[in-house]
């Protein structure tokens, strides 16, 4: 494992960037996944411009009606246009998980690289800290925090970040451990570079590529997790047109107007599955066995 992770020597860094797109596009799964993610991101950010109605306008048509010329995906229980709501309802599901996982990775990489570089007592302390955080069941932890603080975008981002912190930290630590024994780290050390400089300039760039697939995978799980919170009514609040919340709101009219539930469900599914396919393609490329053996997050 060490050999495979350590193989990309600093010489290879320039080629990593080109290799990234190629590695995703080389497998059929990667191609399909990238197409799905691109489509969903376009729909999420450009789609609202094409929404036929306001996403929160009720009574635009008869309530809980099926598809028609005026309402391509029908209407929900309050007569709101389902298509307009689906087009408008994905931003939170893209941005919140991205923010949370990026935050978790920023903090996790700092702690993980420090642990791997310093070793000894610092390493044991940080590693033990990650282990303790990992013993809490994630959903339960987030539920009690939201029960205490109430919900808001900031609360959801921070708690989800907290859930993913030990997981990101462990991966960074493991990858950095293999890099720390490389000659170029010893060389940097020998020429008197400061510790912070060595970590930032020598170690961080060399763990970036192998950890990227894990970052993509964690983002997939974070999307699933945030969508679940919204579905449970603990994230986005009415009348927000959020996909998870829409499914919960229209659950009772599923037999009458199935599209009001199935279209947001399909949207969540396409986004999460697409990103997972990309993560899988990346993982296969870097053969980062760290991700495959870690197990699921939720």
């Amino acid at each position: 494992m060490r050999a495979s992770v350590a193989a990309p020597a600093p010489v290879e860094v320039p080629t990593l960037r080109r290799g990234l797109a190629a590695s995703v596009l080389r497998t059929r799964g990667g191609q399909i996944g990238l197409a799905m993610v691109t489509a969903m991101i376009l729909i999420t950010f450009v789609g609202p411009l094409f929404a036929p109605y306001s996403p929160v306008q009720s009574g635009t048509g008869p309530p809980a009606s099926g598809p028609s010329a005026q309402h391509l995906l029908g209407t929900d229980a309050l007569g709101r246009d389902v298509l307009s709501r689906v087009l408008d309802g994905g931003r939170g599901l893209v941005l919140v998980p991205l923010l949370a996982v990026s935050g978790a990775y920023a903090l996790g990489a700092t702690l993980g690289v420090t642990a791997a570089y310093r070793g000894g007592r610092v390493d044991r302390l940080i590693a033990r800290g990650f282990d303790i955080l990992l013993t809490f069941p994630p959903l339960l932890l987030v539920l009690v925090v939201i029960a205490g603080l109430g919900t808001s975008v900031a609360v959801v981002v921070l708690t989800v970040m907290f859930v993913f912190l030990p997981r990101a930290g462990r991966v960074c630590r493991g990858t950095a451990q293999a890099v720390c024994v490389e000659d170029y780290v010893t060389a940097a050390h020998a020429r008197g570079d400061r510790d912070a400089w060595v970590m930032a300039r020598e170690i961080l760039p060399n763990i970036a590529a192998p950890t990227l697939s894990d970052y993509a995978l964690r983002t997939t799980y974070a999307i699933t997790f945030v969508a679940t919170l919204n579905f449970l009514g603990l994230g986005a609040q009415p009348p927000d047109p959020d996909w998870g919340l829409m499914i919960a709101e229209n659950r009772s009219i599923l037999p009458v107007a199935p599209l009001s539930v199935l279209s947001p469900a399909a949207a969540v599914a396409l986004l999460a599955v697409g990103l997972n396919l990309v993560a899988e393609a990346l993982a296969r490329h870097w053969a980062a066995d760290t991700t495959s053996s870690q197990g699921v997050v939720l």
Binding site: G29, I132, T135, F136, P137, P138, L139, L140, L141, L143, V144, V145, I146, A147, G148, L149, G150, T220, T224, A227, T228, F231, L232, G233, L234, G244, I247, A248, R251, L254, P255, P258, V261, L262, A265, V268, A269, A272, V273, L275, N276, L277, E280, S292, S293, G295, V296, L298
Partner: protein
Amino acid sequence: MDQRSAPLWRAGRSAAVLANLARGLVTIALTLLAMSVVTYGATNLSRGPDAQVRAALGNEATAAQIDAFKKRYGLDRPLPARYATWFSDYVRGDWGLSPITERPVRAEALPRLGRTILLMLIAVAVALPVALLTGVVCAVRAGGRLDRSVNVLIVVLAALPEFVVGIALVTVFAVWLGDLPVDSSGLLFGGPVDRVKAYVLPAATLALAVAPQIVRLTRAAVGEVIPAPYVRAATLRGLSRRTVVSSYLLPNAAGPLANVVATNMVYLLGGAIVVEQVFSFPGVGRRLIEAIGQGDTVTVQALALALGVLTLLISYATDAVVRMANPRLRAGR
């Protein structure tokens, strides 16, 4: 238990076993304590006594009413003191009185807890054999047609939130085919047949939620043993594939396999909370979500800790089974 694990119970080893057991119990007690502190602390983050009073009495309560309410539920005391009383009552079986429903939390929760546990057991009983078998077959025929299609299925299923899987199953089996109920309210109001049917779709959803990871990790665990020299030797000696798999591969992959199962059982709990919400299943997870919405802090604290303990018990029980089944782990870490 097979014969090979019999020496475990002989006199010479029993001291080590007892020491292990004691260490396990201490760890469980400490984790339980930590969980209770986190649960009580988190639920009091900003919704302190005042928020609890407002949730129960509304905003128009008079000062006298508020004081009486605080006194009645012990909210006039400082946080550490309230925690100590709460926790010592909790372990003795008094889970408090819900200020919203004005009923004892424990009496209301126990039947729900039973249904949630039954739901999890059914899901495991369905998912585990199927997932293990699929994982082993995929590993033995790595790269084959079955392996590739299972792989695609896993990537899709692992990314889907439980509630999307649940909605898909309801749409197909309840709305289109119409054989099963659209939700699990039959558990409360229906006859015996309704009650059985009420479990089918929630259990299937939960099984689909835990299965993909088990298949994936089983495949990896068994796949790691395949290149071993003794497997090659057995194959070269001309033993049948079935013998190689059952006598050489599986016993040697058993340790990691058991770990796979143990780590994935924990995810049942989060899954159960979501699945109960999808199907209006009258379990403890749905009540927890409902209580959070109502600002019923007493119920939230009691149920969250109960679910935390349940997770703890699941992971220690599976861990114990793993250790007993695997001689290499028996000495303990």
